[in-house]
């Protein structure tokens, strides 16, 4: 768990603080996404957590210990760190790269070797094939997987990730995001994730912290932020299509009425598809009811346009 209280950092010569009395709490095992326009302080905040940047005021407490009370080098060896350009060591093999922190911590060779293989398999890379390769032989997506494996090597309770998928092409990025989500949920790590992409934030985050000019504007679950943006800035930031984004978070099977039988020739949609896809299908076919198909293809309920409307009923931000 990470508790940030009144964190402040001002760089010399800057007009306003990079981080301005930031206060937020990341629950244990949650993914907290820091997002905002360029210069909002999200990366600075992340880098203060592992003391790559020293704060001017306020406190950061990680799992009960104030980061200022721990020697920075020791602190960093127990926090996973993934950056956008990854920074794999070009002169070391993949195995040596992944083994970096365990070696710094003095693990024995056998334990390290086993851990390297375990992690490479975890991120979807065959250890036998990739252990002895070098970074320059890898594609962008592969490098990023190794970067994640490297950060997980010493099994840190907390991970910091700064736009980790920013340098990857869009197709690979989506793929990596999904895989990564799966891995993270299994491992139950507390993650602070920085991005500028609102869609990525909604996908990856259990909590989203929207920042602007160093200050925290809104901190809540993705659903809550989409339903009720705190002000005009947030509303513009999440996009004019936030209603549709909200629908993308809900599956058809979650919004269906299981008691109603589907009309005979009704078009259908898979239960696992989102309401957004359901809406799109309704619009393109000109219908207002879809049969929801279960995992084996049989109809298990219906979803209606009315039900979708009910889900998106929100108060406009300007009414607050």
């Amino acid at each position: 768990m990470i508790e940030i209280a009144a964190l402040t950092k001002r760089f010399p010569g800057a007009a306003h603080p990079a981080v301005d009395k930031l206060t937020l709490r990341v629950p244990e095992g949650a993914v907290c996404v820091l997002i905002g326009p360029s210069g909002c302080g999200k990366t600075t905040t992340m880098r203060i957590i592992n003391r790559m940047i020293e704060p001017d005021a306020g406190s950061v407490v990680v799992n009960g210990r104030n980061v200022m009370d721990v020697d920075p080098v020791t602190l960093r060896r127990h926090i996973g760190y993934v950056i956008q350009q990854i920074g794999l060591f070009p002169h070391w093999s993949i195995a040596d790269n992944v083994a970096t922190v365990p070696k710094l911590l003095g693990w024995d060779a056998a334990r390290i070797a086993a851990r390297v293989d375990e992690l490479l398999a975890l991120v979807g890379m065959d250890p036998g094939m990739y252990r002895g390769r070098f970074p320059r032989e890898l594609s962008g997506g592969q490098k990023q997987r190794v970067g994640v494996a490297r950060a997980l090597a010493a099994d840190p309770p907390v991970m910091l990730m700064d736009e980790p998928f920013g340098a990857i092409d869009p197709i690979t990025r989506t793929h990596l995001q999904d895989e990564f989500l799966r891995i993270l949920h299994d491992l139950k790590k507390t993650i602070v994730f920085v991005t500028h992409d609102i869609d990525e934030a909604i996908r990856m985050g259990d909590r989203i912290a929207i920042m602007k000019d160093g200050a925290l504007i809104q901190y809540d679950t993705p659903e809550a932020i989409l339903a009720a943006p705190a002000d005009a800035f947030v509303e513009a930031f999440v996009g004019a299509d936030r209603a549709l984004k909200r629908l993308a978070l809900v599956s058809a099977s979650a919004a269906m009425d299981a008691a109603v039988a589907a009309p005979a020739a009704a078009p259908s949609i898979e239960g696992s598809a989102s309401l957004r896809d359901a809406l799109a299908r309704m619009l393109s076919l000109g219908v207002d009811t879809l049969a929801v198909a279960g995992p084996h293809g049989a109809a298990i309920g219906v979803v209606t346009l009315a039900a979708i409307r009910a889900r998106t009923r929100t108060k406009p931000a300007s009414e607050h």
Partner: protein, 214 residues
């Protein structure tokens, strides 16, 4: 003809030849070793500074342009003639390329790699030892290679300030217009220089970490 006569000269004066050869190698190797011992650590330290580095690198750049013989000659009125003044001058000549290459090489290590190393919990020393130096080594070694050839070439000129070495045969040969003697100096010196370049080239390849070889 000339080559045969040169060879006969060597056979007739083996101690003179070997002594000159040995002095030449000793002078060159010592100058190079001292220059490495000074310039590599200095270059590494300077890579972390701003002002001091600008100053030192500007000085090294000037040093690099100075004619070798001029440097050797300038040392003479101050330190006299012989082995030590020659060693001093040759060391001065070897410093600039090594210093500049070391400084540049360390600074050119990708900042992201250093950031990742720091973020993962390496101490400043560990970053230097495990990341910056290995990655900088190829370029540092290129500087050492350049300096090595320069020093061998300069050691030939050391003959003029009493440093001994193969240059003695060349100067004597020119003064007396005795071509065989001239060859006794010129050819071994050339072979020594070419051989050194080859040797350091091979060492440079051997020193390049596996991950960086293309």
């Amino acid at each position: 003809m000339l080559l045969v006569e040169a060879w006969q000269f060597i056979l007739a004066h083996p101690e003179r030849f070997l002594s000159a050869l040995w002095t030449h190698i000793a002078l060159s190797a010592s100058a190079l070793a001292i220059a490495i011992a000074i310039a590599v650590p200095l270059g590494v330290v300077l890579s972390g500074t701003r002002r001091a580095a600008q100053f030192a690198i500007a000085g090294a750049n000037v040093g690099r342009t100075l004619p070798s013989l001029a440097v050797l000659a300038l040392v003479m009125p101050i330190m006299g003639t012989g082995f030590v003044p020659s060693l001093f001058a040759l060391t001065l000549l070897a410093l600039p390329p090594i210093l500049i290459n070391t400084y540049t090489a360390v600074r050119q290590v990708e900042p992201d790699v250093v950031d990742a190393a720091r973020g993962m919990g390496m101490t400043r020393n560990e970053i230097r030892r495990k990341v910056e130096l290995p990655l900088a080594l190829p370029v540092i070694f290129a500087g050492i290679r350049t300096a090595a050839v320069q020093v061998i070439s300069g050691a030939v000129l050391a003959a003029y300030i009493g440093g001994g070495g193969l240059g003695d045969f060349i100067t004597a040969g020119i003064a007396m217009m005795a071509l065989p003697q001239l060859f006794v100096g010129a050819i071994p010196a050339t072979l020594l220089a070419l051989g050194t370049d080859r040797l350091f080239g091979a060492l440079q390849r051997a020193m390049t970490p596996a991950g960086l070889r293309s």
